[in-house]
Symmetry: C2
DNA sequence: CTGTCTTTCCCTGTAAAAAGGGAAAATATC
DNA sequence: GATATTTTCCCTTTTTACAGGGAAAGACAG
């Protein structure tokens, strides 16, 4: 348990009553992947992180000084 | 240009006046990595994504139904 | 149109993330 | 304290992301 992301995942998994193994199966990743995520390893594939977050109903967002400008242009472009 | 993350990165890079190559050098990753990020590839390593986001001054955040509960417990635990 | 810069997308070798098995350590349940 | 469950952390093999080089395609300036 080292970084914020690891904590977020651990917290949500515990609240959902899942073991690492169960979460791994639901996300379609290996059990070791979940363990590594929760121990703060940052060399995991983004793909696999996203699968795990999806199972736990966690959405990623960003913020930056350009956030508003981006959202305007992005929604304009996408309709 | 496929997903939201790719768009965010492209937008911020353009606004900062950097080429893919320059961003890659600043982030300490290969030029192909930046290209892949911007073309929506999700198999990149989280580590490398974070390096790129840091150069562009983009912070990741999350939200979920348990967000408030997590923040409370997390700040309590960390002081 | 011509030359410069940038992006897209090949290629190759190397490093390492992946899954899955297994077993000791830790934690929880009785 | 014994037993069951879960987590931590080994191992091996397979897969693949990575850097860096290179070159065609695209964008942009003079």
């Amino acid at each position: 348990m080292q970084n914020r992301l690891a904590n977020i995942i651990l917290f949500h998994r515990k609240r959902s009553g899942l073991t690492q193994q169960e979460l791994a199966e639901l996300a379609g990743v290996g059990k070791n992947m979940v363990y590594e995520l929760e121990s703060g390893k940052q060399s995991v594939r983004l793909e696999n992180l996203l699968k795990v977050l999806q199972v736990l109903n966690i959405e990623l967002d960003f913020h930056s000084p350009l956030r508003e400008a981006f959202l305007k242009e992005y929604s304009d472009a996408k309709g």
